[in-house]
Symmetry: C2
Subunit: 375 residues, 2 copies
């Protein structure tokens, strides 16, 4: 049986490329993980997600525990079988979303009690229960249960929260136990304060994890503050384990994060944007609902090989989005996920070739051109 293992293949500056081996297949890094919140990447068939080049999906513990329920998914053979995705799945711990979505939540040393935002039913999440749920789901990469404040926040609040998360990290590690082929990742907290980040990293390394996330970012602090933390935080984490930046981001966020030593990322942006008519191309963002596309026979991106670009005009995408037809979300989500995965493949190639800086320059130059002018 393949064990969980990370192999670094090349570095270029602080940017890294490598491979994570898992029993369910390889994850090429830097990796972008599409989000399949409720056991589906919205508007996509899972075989289409795989066709975009995704090696791994993210599932949300909070959503799945409430509906359809972790025990139910376990009885049905686990999340992979349930949602027809046989490649790796990373699940978050539920910690972030219980604090942002649930009703009447109450935080104690033990964990969080809350009411479901769906039906008002009462639930509890603790490090132990989070580990149990993620095991029931059959997650390949399990995240430690943590808590984090929105930024900006008082440093004392950030420190207190980080220390609670570190105690929970230890309890997560203890509860996870020894599960060959499955990985447990710790999550660094500490907001934008280097000393708190360092304290958190030291504690996590002491506990020992299979990978390390930079947590508590992408929560309102802006790109500059995020890059500020990423200038030092990845270096505080072990070089021989994957580093995962949670909830990021836009294409330029991804490039900046990779440049600073990040190996894995996830974000709802490509799928959520797709459903509202926002497309990402190498020339930046395109709002397909804009009237200027109504008569445009050209594809969204003439260099793109996704079905939306191969088979449809901007005029068609404009029409179906305006008409509220489901195929608009299906095609634009596919395009956006394809664009993201192609970006990751290009990034991996550039790092392997030692040409990441040139790639970054070209990336920004193409975006500076802006979208193609109207005919």
């Amino acid at each position: 049986m393949t064990r969980f293992a990370f192999t670094l293949q090349a570095t270029d500056g602080r940017a890294r490329t490598g491979v994570i081996d898992t029993p369910r297949g390889q994850i090429r890094t830097p990796a972008f993980m599409p989000v399949g919140t409720a056991a589906t990447v919205k508007a996509m068939m899972p075989e289409s997600v795989a066709a975009t080049g995704a090696d791994i999906l993210l599932g949300n513990t909070y959503h799945l525990m409430l509906r359809p329920g972790a025990e139910r998914i376990d009885r049905l053979g686990g999340l992979h079988r349930f949602m027809n995705w046989d490649k790796p799945i990373l699940t978050d711990s539920g910690g972030f979303q219980v604090m942002s979505l649930a009703d009447l939540r109450k935080l104690t040393e033990t964990g969080v009690t809350f009411r479901s935002h769906i039906d008002g039913s009462k639930h509890e999440l603790t490090p132990e229960r989070s580990m149990e749920i993620q095991r029931l789901l059959g997650s390949d990469i399990v995240m430690a249960f943590d808590e984090c404040p929105s930024l900006p926040a008082e440093e004392s609040r950030v420190a207190e929260s980080m220390r609670l998360s570190m105690r929970w990290a230890q309890r997560s590690r203890d509860a996870f136990g020894d599960r060959p082929g499955h990985a447990l990742f710790g999550i660094q907290q500490g907001g934008v304060t280097p000393e708190l980040r360092e304290e958190s990293a030291e504690k996590l390394k002491e506990i020992g994890f299979d990978g390390y996330a930079v947590g508590g970012l992408a929560v309102g602090e802006g790109q500059e503050a995020m890059f500020g933390v990423l200038d030092y935080a990845p270096g505080q984490l072990p070089a021989d384990k994957p580093r995962y930046l949670m909830g990021v981001g836009k294409p330029d966020d991804i490039l900046g994060a990779v440049k600073r030593g990040i190996d894995m990322m996830d974000c709802v942006l490509p799928s959520r944007s797709g459903r509202t008519g926002q497309a990402w191309t190498r020339r930046g963002q395109v709002n397909i609902k804009n009237a200027r596309h109504a008569d445009d026979p050209r594809p969204l991106d003439e260099h793109c090989t996704c079905p939306a670009c191969r088979n449809y005009s901007r005029a068609y995408l404009h029409h179906v989005m305006r008409a509220g037809e489901m195929i608009s979300g299906m095609l634009l989500t596919w395009h956006n996920l394809h664009y993201y995965q192609e970006l990751m493949a290009d990034i991996r190639g550039a790092i392997a070739a030692g040409e990441f800086a040139a790639f970054e320059t070209e990336f920004h130059a193409q975006r500076a051109e802006g979208d193609i002018p109207p005919l």
Copy 2:
């Protein structure tokens, strides 16, 4: 260039099977045509529609003329290219929908003026304009412009309306002209009155069309009244041309129509039902939202080879439908369209084998069993 031609291959009682040749491919009859109202079969990629076995789609003149507009679709290369469907397309005339959907409509001998239900803009549909729009769309099978009352209606109203439709049928024929490879179908009216149906059929045959629709049914009269008309109406139309029953129907409607000599049908039912959680199987209708499916690991139909049945449990379909996820509509629509096309293939096989009566008995016996019992 292939011309439009209908070849009858076998009959069994009044049921018929054959092939319609068109420059865009063959249509095997009896044929079920999925409805692609606004240049998309809702929740489906066109290649998936083709994979279900559909030989032809229906497009709606009324919707397309309002948005994105027939002239625009023409500039963009026609409807086939616009929506990425290269097989045949039949378009309705707009007559039925302008009377059921448009605002402030006014009917005269000339045609209908109305306001768009989308943006209130003012439009006119006449036989001549309907022919022009259907030509701009690039329709392979064009329907004559007609008008029909909802049933039940006064016989005098039905007669008056039928005679107007016959005058419009002549104007449609004149305006259509000679377009090799494209077909024009006339539409028989006359409600549930045999003499009016006969008068309409005679008039249409006198004008001469490439195919004939039985119109004015599926408008509220019920299955018994519909079958009552179908007991004689197809026999009033030429045997050597395709006969099309518009807007029908449920699987048992289809069987009853084929039995009475119908060759083509269309209906939004499989796609619309799919989006609301209704699935059709050989054992009847299944409401996947029902709580009894929440833990059911079995497929919707173990004999079905569609992706929804091959790859997902009832529990999953239940979950994603309850959660409002787009994949629920995508999978159930695919299943329903697959079921309908498989039904048509089975019907064609049974007619060719001279076993239609036995097929009909088995069809009703399977449905009488009802859905599989809970585990």
